[in-house]
C-alpha cells in the first residue's frame, strides 16, 4: 500500500480554497464589474479570461432598440450576476433599486453602493449603513461598497452584511491601494469576507490586496479600459491567485539588514 506524500495532508488548501460568501462557495476570488467595456463581445471574452464566477451589473431604464444585453453575456458564460445600486445617492434610492434588481434578476444578493457625489464617487457612510440595515431586514444578502474605514466596516458587519468591500482608491482612478494599513486593520477585525473594491489599476495592486489578507478583489475599469482587456483580465486572474498563495504561504519578515541565504564561505 502506497501512502500519500506528507505535504498532501498538511496543505490541502492549495487545491481547494474556495471563497465563501453567505455560505456559498466560489472557486474564483476575482469578482468582475462590467462597466466601461468597448463592446459586449470584448466584455464576454474578458470575463471568461478572468475566470470570474460573479460579476456586477447596474440597473437602468430600458432604452428602446438597445441591441444585446449584458444579462445574455453573463448567462451564456454561466456567470452569476451581482446587481449593484450604482447611481444611488440615498438609502431610499438604493432600496428601490435593490428591490427592482431582485425582481429582474431573481437574486437577493446586492452590491450596495451609495455614493456621496459625482465628483469623488466616494461612499456616503451614513446612507450606506442605513441602507444596509434596511436591506438586511428585507432579506437581502448585502455586499456593501465602503470606505477604507475599519470602524465603518465593523458596523456594516454588525448590521448583518455578508461581506465588506472597502475601496483601495476612488472608483476608476487606478490609484491602487492608498492606505494598506487601513485594509490590514479591516482584515484583522472582520468575521466576514473582505473584498477590495475600487482603485485597482494593474495586476501588482490586485496581488497586494490579496497579500494584505483580502479574501477577494472586485475590479472593472482596470480590465475594461485597458488597451487589451482580455489580456489584462488574464493578468488579474493570475495576480489574485498569486497574491492569495503568497498570503497563505506566509511571507518572510522584513529586515533592515542583509540575512545571508548562502552558507558562510569558511564552512
Amino acid at each position: 500500500m502506497t501512502t500519500a506524500p506528507a505535504h498532501a495532508e498538511t496543505a490541502p488548501a492549495a487545491d481547494h480554497d474556495p471563497l465563501v460568501i453567505a455560505g456559498e462557495p466560489f472557486g474564483s476570488r476575482l469578482i468582475m464589474g462590467t462597466g466601461g467595456a468597448p463592446s459586449l463581445s470584448v466584455l464576454g471574452d474578458a470575463l471568461v479570461a478572468s475566470g470570474t464566477e460573479m460579476t456586477t451589473v447596474a440597473m437602468r431604464r430600458v432604452a428602446p432598440g438597445a441591441d444585446g444585453s449584458v444579462w445574455d453575456v453573463l448567462e451564456r458564460n454561466g456567470i452569476r450576476p451581482l446587481p449593484n445600486t450604482a447611481g444611488c445617492f440615498t438609502a431610499a434610492e438604493a432600496l428601490r433599486t435593490a428591490r427592482l434588481a431582485r425582481e429582474a434578476l431573481d437574486t437577493s444578493w446586492v452590491k450596495l453602493e451609495v455614493v456621496a457625489d459625482e465628483r469623488t464617487l466616494l461612499p456616503d457612510p451614513v446612507e450606506t449603513l442605513d441602507a444596509a440595515e434596511q436591506l438586511v431586514d428585507d432579506g437581502f444578502t448585502v455586499l456593501p461598497y465602503t470606505n477604507d474605514d475599519p470602524i465603518l466596516a465593523r458596523r456594516l458587519e454588525q448590521a448583518g452584511c455578508a461581506a465588506v468591500m472597502p475601496l483601495g482608491a476612488p472608483i476608476g482612478s487606478g490609484l491602487g491601494i492608498r492606505n494598506p494599513h487601513a485594509i490590514e486593520l479591516i482584515v484583522a477585525d472582520a468575521g466576514v469576507p473582505v473584498i477590495l473594491d475600487a482603485g485597482i489599476g494593474t495586476a501588482s495592486e490586485a496581488a497586494l490586496a490579496m497579500e494584505l489578507g483580502c479574501d477577494a478583489v472586485l475590479l472593472a475599469t482596470a480590465v475594461t479600459r485597458a488597451k487589451d482587456p482580455v489580456r489584462m483580465a488574464g493578468a488579474m486572474r493570475a495576480a489574485v491567485a498569486a497574491g492569495r498563495s503568497a498570503r497563505l504561504a506566509g511571507r518572510i519578515p522584513v529586515r533592515r539588514y542583509a540575512h545571508a541565504s548562502s552558507p558562510a564561505a569558511d564552512q
Partner: protein, 67 residues
Amino acid sequence: MLNVIVNGENREIAPGSTVADVVRSLTEATRGVAVAVNDEVVPRTGWSGRHVTDHDRVDVLTAVQGG
C-alpha cells in the same frame, strides 16, 4: 387616453392598458426586466393583471453594464 409617465417621458396610452402592455411597448424581453409603478415594484406575475391608471409613473428597468 391616459396620460402617464413611462421611464421619465410623458406618454398617452389606451384606457385598459396593463403593465404588461407598457413593457411590451419598450422591449421584447421579459426576463431580466423589472417594473415599478409609482416607485413600487410590481412582480412579473402581476404585470398582466395590473391596469395602468391616469398619471401613473411607470419605470421599466433592466440590467446594463456597470460597476
